[in-house]
Structures are given as structure tokens and as C-alpha cells.
Symmetry: C2
Subunit: 337 residues, 2 copies
């Protein structure tokens, strides 16, 4: 039976992660995970005329790399599930239109890669497709322009702020084994959780309650303890959000401190790169997953992890109207075969 | 076998449309379809402080009505698939957070209701849920503010312009028969189609190529002629877009003129309501479907229709940067049992 508990699915026929691809900006390539990435851009504008077009170019290059690495023709990808942070998903629309594939546009803020992997794996496990792709991107400059201040304004960033990752990550999900011995065991789809936090410079605090909610739901639905997973890896809580997550779960009697990891904390070295609380953006979890995490699972270093991309449902309009920043998190069980 | 042709799914166990609900603004309630709607708001602000909050309120009221009409507890809806036109889907995030259900945020511009019905029905047909909900909204004032001019600017609207529908529509999709004898036979997921049109006041022209692409794909994938459907109903092409759609398909040897209908043309009386080319927005197809279309199928007036919500992937940022407005359309086969 596929339905598991209140908000999870466990696959009878676990789909494979057939192949992955990513591309990052210069700063990300110089960080602690630099050696894990497929390719990098030297010019943050990607040779285009605007930050938004640059982000579209990241998506395009990422999907091209995915096709090359997997030796697939674009027509073998039956559906693309993709999204980004920009209003009306323009990085996705303009980045992926040229591939002429049926597409589901998704918005889950920085949790979008989790939402995409969830739906893409459901689709394959149900037999609606042999192969689907999940993709998400973010770009530091387009995100700053969209959500906060133009770069040229030169505002100071508080210590709780995270740094939006410039990068795109993608996977092909398939019923057949590909180049990786990694499968998706199940998913836990998140609810919108709003603790009323209104600080757009402290996204970790906005998202931690949603991450705690989804992780607790996953453990309950699957009837397991945190030890079931070698690692529980959130998307972009950063240092501030990590502390809150661990505290919130501890109050529910769940201790994940010894196995928690956060893509936002891993991707930069604050000491060397002045990134404060960590990295963020859809691209943060997407490139860390397709870079480091998949490789560690594929090599057998980790047997099973819970991957939990986290999103802060922030909009410049709602923020300027004094609204809170609700959070959401979607969890994916990823296993070594 | 569920996979059909290049981009369609035909369900072996066709899911039911269990119940529907909608809510519209004053103008829509005074239009030709007024008597079909469940409820209307008298005050376009819905008693809230901003247009965005008003649209959230529409989503909230719509979902509440859906639960009441279907006599379901919110916890019986396993997943919500929902979206709107605003940047970062704030109408959805703030409108539906209070129901505390696992949610997939979707963006397909005005095609979002089709995208939502597609994924919600795939999910039910695959056995991932007993019941899912699909929901989409738009609001004239929040859309004008987001995409064009603030209302108080009082700009003139060209004759090719459409009028964004204030309203929200939703359905429960279920493996079990509900209050309607209507089922979803299959879906055809659209590609992004960009003919390079750059006129944000002529959305019909931006979307018609995508509608033609999806309709032609549906007919090919299912191996049928237009006569297979009693009606082929697009979302919000309006009068200008309708002409283009019919012409584009005729060039491919497909004639749908005698059975084409467009929600945007049906919802207003241009003569009486000064709406020019017609209605638009996610809400346009969502309220017309859940209002008129479902009732006509349920009553047996139509046995089978192809419902094709159409979206123009317009963003104020990309538009101001001189980019085109690509289109997308998702088709749903809806049948009287």
C-alpha cells in the first residue's frame, strides 16, 4: 500500500535516481563543496543581459548537462517538474521552454526541489512515465533584487541572514536503474506552518517550525526513530534555523542533533566567505543534494537519509504589507539500493 | 496502460469529481453565468486590508464551501494542489495555511486550475490518496497591481485586453463517487510555447499557440477527432485568442470551430459589462468549470468535453525587460459517467 500515515507515501516499487546534474556560481565553486559540482559559471551574468536571464541560463545549462550525463534524448524525459524563486517562475519558463517538454511549474519557495522530487517520483512510481526530471534554481542577484535590496544599494546583512546560492540542480527519476544505485523510498509532503515570524533577514527562524513539523510527521508516518536515517538533511535553515529546529523537535521528544545536517551550513565557509548564517535558495538544496549528498549515498557512506528542502513563503508584496513569512518543508527518503 | 501517446495519460480507473465549489466577485455574479455560482462577495476587499489579502480570503471561503458542500472534514483531503497569479503564490499561502493540509504550490499562470486538476487526479488514480483538492483563484485588483497598472491610475484598456476574473474555484477528486456523476478520463500536460508575442494587453494571442499545441497533442495521443468531444473549452483566450486558436488548428487540418467554447468569452457580456475581449485569470476557468461546465456534464447535456485552461507566463519583471510572453495550456478530459 502506497499511503503511509497521515501525509506520507512509501513506494512499493521504489523509483531510481537515474542521474543528476548541477551548475553553480563562482562563490559556490570556491566553497567547501566546490569539488562536488559538475560545472561552474565564471560570470554571474552568464553572458546575458539581466540577472533573471542569467538564472534562466543556469536552468538551461543544468538541464543540458543532465541530458548529456544521462545519455538521454530530451524526448525521453516525459515530464519536467521545476521551479524557482522569482515571481511567476520566469527563470523556469524562459530557461526550459526550448526543451519542448510537458512541464509542471511548481512553487514551494526554497523547498521547491523537494516538491519537484516528490511529484516526479510519484509520477514514475505510478507508471505515468518512464523518466521524469526535477529541477530547481536560484541566483543571488535575482533573489536580492526580487526580495530585498538591489546589489548596488550595498546594504549590510545581519548575522541571521543567509546568502542565496547561485546554482541549479536536477535529477532524472526513473523506473530503471541508471548510473547511480540510489532510490527514493517515499515522501512526506509538508503543510504550511506559520509561527508569525516577520523578519525577512532571518529565514531560518521562519522555516524551522515547518521543518520540525515535516520531520516529526515523517518519523510518525513511517513508524521509525531518527536512527532510521544516517542523516536528516534540511535545505537552508542555516545556523540560526538549525538551533531552532533541534530545540523544537526536542520538545516533542525527538533528538536529531547527532545526525542533522543542513545544506545551507555545508555549502559555504562563513569564516572564509562571509556568508553569515549560511546559504539559501532553491538552488542551495538542489546543488548540495546533486553534488555531495547523492555521491555519499551512491558510494555507500550513508545507507539512508531524509532530505528535507525547506521554504520560506516570502513575497516582497506580502512582506511590505506587514504579513508574516510562513514556512513549508517537503521530505524525501533517499536510500542506497 | 496509463501512458497515452507522447504527453497524455488515460486513467484505467477514472477518478470522480466528487464535489465542486466556487465564489465570485460582484461583476462576475452579474454576468451571464451569475446563476451558476455558489456564492459571491459584495465587497471586493472581502473585509480585508489589501487586495492580496482579499484574494486569500476568496481561497479560504472557497475551500470552506467545498468542505461544506461535500460534507468532508478537512483531514479527509489528503493533498491540496493550488495556486494563483501573484508572485510567490501569496494568495494561496495565506489563504490555505489555516487548513493545515499537505500542499503542493503550483504556478501555470491562468492554466493553474488545469495543472492542479491534472496532478490531483493523477494522485488519486495512482492510489496515493482517497481524496485530493484542486483550487485556483484570481482577483481583478491584485492582478492589475501585480501585472499592469494600479486601478487608481485609470488607464484605458485596449479592445484586445481581457478582464481578470475575481473568483476562486475548487474541486474534490476522489476514487469514490460523490455528488456528481462526472469523471476525469485523462489528461494532456502542456509544453511552454513561445511565439514571441510581447503585448501584455493581448494575452489571447500569447496563449492561443499553446492551446492549439495541447489540443492537437490530445487528439493525436487519444487517436480521436474533435467530434469525440461535445465541447472543447479553453480557459481565457477571449475573442481575439479564439480566432487565432481556430486558425492555427485549421492549418493543421483540425476544425474545432463548431464545438469550441472559451470560459473568458462566456463569463462576461462585453456589451453590458465593458470587458472587451473577455475574462481571464486562474479564477476564470476555475469558476466557469465548477459553475456552468460541471453542471452541464452532470445533467447530461454534454457527455464528454476537453477542458483546456490556458496560461500566459507573464511577469512584470520579464515584461519590463522586453521579454516575450510564452503560453502554456493543460487539458483535462471530463466525462459524464
Amino acid at each position: 500500500m502506497a499511503i503511509k500515515g497521515n501525509q506520507s507515501v512509501e513506494y512499493d516499487r521504489k523509483p531510481y535516481i537515474y542521474e543528476s546534474a548541477n551548475i553553480v556560481g563562482k562563490k559556490e565553486s570556491e566553497g567547501p563543496l566546490g569539488s562536488y559540482f559538475d560545472s561552474k559559471i565564471e560570470d554571474d551574468m552568464c553572458g546575458r543581459d539581466s540577472w533573471e536571464e542569467a538564472e534562466s541560463e543556469l536552468q538551461k545549462k543544468c538541464f543540458e548537462t543532465l541530458l548529456t550525463k544521462s545519455s538521454l534524448n530530451r524526448n525521453e524525459i516525459r515530464y519536467i517538474f521545476a521551479g524557482d524563486l522569482l515571481g511567476q517562475l520566469i527563470a523556469t519558463s524562459f530557461g526550459l521552454a526550448g526543451f519542448e517538454r510537458p512541464i509542471f511549474g511548481l512553487y514551494g519557495a526554497c523547498s521547491t526541489f523537494g516538491e519537484a522530487m516528490g511529484l516526479a517520483s510519484m509520477c514514475v512510481a505510478a507508471g505515468y512515465a518512464d523518466k521524469t526530471a526535477a529541477l530547481a534554481s536560484s541566483h543571488y542577484a535575482s533573489a536580492q533584487k526580487q526580495f530585498r535590496f538591489p546589489l548596488s544599494y550595498g546594504n549590510q546583512r545581519p548575522l541571521s541572514a543567509t546568502f542565496t546560492v547561485t546554482g541549479a540542480g536536477s535529477v532524472v527519476i526513473s523506473q530503471k536503474r541508471g548510473n547511480l544505485d540510489v532510490r527514493i523510498g517515499g515522501i512526506t509532503t509538508g503543510k504550511i506552518v506559520d509561527y508569525g515570524v516577520k523578519d525577512s533577514m532571518n529565514m531560518g527562524a521562519c522555516m524551522a517550525p515547518a521543518a520540525a513539523d515535516t520531520i516529526a510527521a515523517n518519523l510518525k508516518d513511517f513508524g521509525v526513530e531518527p536512527e532510521y536515517y544516517d542523516k536528516i538533511i534540511t535545505g537552508d535553515l542555516g545556523l540560526v534555523g538549525q538551533t531552532i529546529l533541534i530545540d523544537l523537535l526536542r520538545k516533542q521528544g525527538i533528538d536529531i542533533e547527532d545526525r542533522h545536517m543542513d545544506c545551507g551550513i555545508e555549502i559555504y565557509s562563513d569564516e572564509m566567505q562571509d556568508t553569515h548564517s549560511g546559504g539559501s535558495g532553491c538552488g542551495c538544496s538542489a546543488v548540495t543534494f546533486t553534488g555531495m549528498i547523492l555521491k555519499k549515498i551512491s558510494m555507500g557512506e550513508w545507507k539512508r537519509i531524509l532530505f528535507v528542502p525547506t521554504g520560506a513563503l516570502l513575497s516582497p508584496v506580502s512582506f511590505n504589507e506587514g504579513m508574516s513569512v510562513p514556512g513549508i518543508a517537503h521530505a524525501i527518503v533517499v536510500e542506497k539500493e
